[in-house]
């Protein structure tokens, strides 16, 4: 029931508008109408492709093919084509896996946790961020599967199927927990993303001019008519999916960190890993969201929808999670000393001043120093500057995983099993190629599906509020 209609404010009562300094910048600038939103966002998929789109797609799909070529070479020859060997048996492959799965976490944080916290600004960025999650998980999923050698046996130790000795998989192993965590994460992210897409697919269907497009969008829109009886169930399901995704996203990177923390290796065996990995994941994911969205908002003329305020808020999340990551680095060192375990302390000294000192200081300068620039408003609101910082965040978070994995492994307890890992060209090309896969998927997504959640952005405009004068309310007030 409309509260404003049933309890009109008596004319003797004057409600003062909030003071100017408390007024927030609107989420959609220039007071755009709700019709403008669907015209503008759907227009990105409907008109001719922008000039940069095809060249970008060609470059990224070439990189993707390079990765598939490398994978073919790896599978046909063996894991010896990579630089890893004893003692560093996990190197770039698992680094890349953790890097990509971490990137995905920002999408779920934006779509689920910010939804539960009623952060309305999420609506402008959640679709693209969720798509980014899916594509990052797709890139991540490749590495653990290909790193095992004899991949044709994968079916025996990934899903619960008895192996050739009739033994089931071991559910005490965090590596198996990881299989369940990552596949659940991929599936639930897809469901969540698709649920959000349904109303927008219906919009695309109703706007489609060609028969083929109308059929395809209509098929995937499942016959959505925007019925309020449907919205009622839809919103409940969306809320529940957000509620389910929140503990899921926190568990996924915790379980990824168990791959390391449950082992006995100095440098890995630390209880701080789960929260530290989750914070790092969100940190790197927001870095990637901004790396994608800052160019796109200019190229696709989305400045009114993804505003400077949105970018600024995301910079603040980077600052917060970056500070947690910096704290975790410090605390790791403190505990290595305070814990009194000489092997642990040796591993950490070796990390900062050993043969891999350069990777450690890359990590520190990118992850500890760069986010703190965002204390300054100028740094948060200058798009070029933010873009450059997010590139450093991406680089730093890749190095973090490299540092954790490689420096902890390369010096075993006996000096006779010390070694130095160097990547081969196959390592490098596979990793660079995974960016090709990621960008190819993202470019196809932004061309054929609405990149911004149309119905959700409409819902946060003042025109959408039946209690707001712009939404048609007769007794408008400051709700």
């Amino acid at each position: 029931m409309s509260a404003a209609a049933e309890h009109p404010v008596p004319s003797s009562v004057k409600i003062a508008p909030p003071p100017a300094e408390l007024e927030r910048q609107p989420l959609v600038l220039h007071n755009r109408s709700i019709g403008w939103l669907s015209d503008h966002i759907a227009g990105i998929c409907e008109g001719e492709a922008p000039k940069w789109w095809l060249p970008a797609l060609i470059i990224s799909s070439t990189m993707m093919l390079m990765m598939f070529g490398c994978i073919g070479y790896l599978i046909s020859t063996g894991v010896g084509v990579w630089g890893l060997n004893q003692p560093v048996a996990w190197a770039w492959d698992i680094t890349n896996f953790v890097f990509w799965i971490g990137i995905g976490h920002a999408g779920t944080l934006i779509s689920a946790i910010l939804f539960l916290l009623r952060q309305k600004w999420r609506t402008s960025v959640n679709r693209a961020a969720e798509a980014m999650t899916l594509f990052a998980v797709a890139c991540a999923g490749i590495f653990p599967i290909i790193h095992v050698g004899r991949i044709w046996y994968a079916v025996w130790w990934l899903p619960p199927i008895p192996n050739n000795y009739d033994i089931w998989v071991n559910f005490r192993s965090p590596l198996l927990w990881d299989v369940f965590a990552v596949s659940t994460y991929g599936t639930v992210s897809l469901l969540f993303w698709y649920t959000g897409l349904i109303p927008d697919l219906a919009t695309m269907r109703d706007r489609a001019t060609s028969k083929v497009k109308k059929f395809l969008y209509g098929f995937f829109a499942f016959g959505w008519t925007g019925s309020n009886r449907h919205w009622s169930n839809y919103e409940k399901a969306y809320l529940l999916l957000a509620g389910l995704s929140t503990p899921l996203v926190l568990s996924v990177h915790s379980i990824v960190s168990f791959d390391f923390a449950v082992s006995q290796v100095p440098g890995w065996h630390t209880t701080i890993f789960p929260p530290y990995f989750v914070a790092g994941a969100v940190f790197s994911g927001f870095g990637m969201v901004l790396t994608l969205l800052i160019p796109l908002r200019t190229l696709c003329k989305l400045e009114d929808i993804v505003t400077v305020r949105h970018v600024e808020l995301m910079c603040k999340v980077i600052l917060a999670t970056g500070s947690i990551v910096g704290y975790a680095y410090g605390m790791e060192f403190f505990i290595a000393w305070y814990g009194g375990n000489p092997y642990e302390l040796a591993a950490f000294k070796n990390r900062a001043f050993g043969p891999y000192w350069w990777s450690y200081w890359w990590m520190i300068s990118c992850n500890v120093i760069s986010p703190h620039l965002f204390w300054f408003k100028w740094c948060r609101t200058n798009m070029v500057f933010v873009f450059i910082v997010t590139i450093f965040v991406n680089i730093g978070m890749w190095f973090e995983r490299f540092v954790i994995i490689v420096t902890s492994l390369h010096r075993d307890y006996l000096p006779s099993s010390w070694g130095y890992f160097r990547p081969t060209w196959v390592d490098v090309c596979t990793f660079l190629g995974s960016f090709g896969l990621f960008f190819t998927l993202f470019l196809l997504f932004m061309r054929y599906l609405p990149m911004i959640a149309i119905s959700e952005v409409k819902g946060v405009t003042p025109q959408a509020d039946p209690h707001h004068p712009q939404g048609g309310a007769k007794h408008g007030g400051n709700h």
Binding site: S2, N170, W177, P199, F219, A237, K474
Partner: protein
């Protein structure tokens, strides 16, 4: 030719909400408001009860947790016992992470399947989707109230008058 229902187009969510309140109070049962985004307060204005999707989620979650625990017990402690470090064959602790993930997985499927079942979706055809005016508005920037002819209280003139008095500028009979 059969008619599906009477469609009234509104320009603002507040107009549609006031109309919905009147239609609800007039005692109609087979009617709906089609909006491009969920309008808050419209559920109450239509007199809709709380959604039942949560029960499907709960059912999914319970199924997932039970499946996980049973599967792990059966595989590692019953069908082929694996002794690891002399620890108990089964414990709820080591089997928790996988069961937890399966709880979330099944509960998510439960929510989505529940939503589709309750909404009678997917469907590839709907009489409203053949109407040009409807398609140009309901998923774009109009708020469209539809009262079906199958409603026991439906009366062409009465209903048309009610919708006109609610302030709709465009009222049209939609073919089935």
């Amino acid at each position: 030719m059969n008619a599906h229902g009477l469609m009234a187009v509104f320009d603002t969510p507040a107009d549609a909400m006031r109309a919905a309140e009147q239609v609800r109070d007039a005692g109609y049962s087979k009617w709906d408001v089609h909006t491009p985004f969920p309008v808050h307060g419209l559920d109450a204005a239509m007199g809709l009860p709380n959604s039942k999707v949560g029960w499907f989620t709960f059912l999914g979650g319970v199924t997932g947790y039970t499946t996980g625990m049973t599967m792990i017990w059966w595989m590692n402690a019953f069908d082929y016992k694996i002794v690891i470090g002399g620890k108990p064959m089964f414990s709820p602790f080591y089997s928790f992470p996988v069961s937890y993930e399966l709880t979330i997985l099944f509960a998510s499927f439960g929510s989505l399947i529940g939503m589709f079942l309750l909404n009678r979706l997917p469907r590839l055809h709907h009489p409203l989707l053949k109407n040009r005016k409807f398609c140009q508005g309901a998923t774009h920037d109009k708020f469209i109230l539809v009262i079906e002819t199958a409603d026991p209280k439906f009366n062409d003139q009465e209903t048309r008058r009610l919708l006109a008095s609610a302030g709709s500028k465009h009222i049209e009979m939609v073919e089935d």
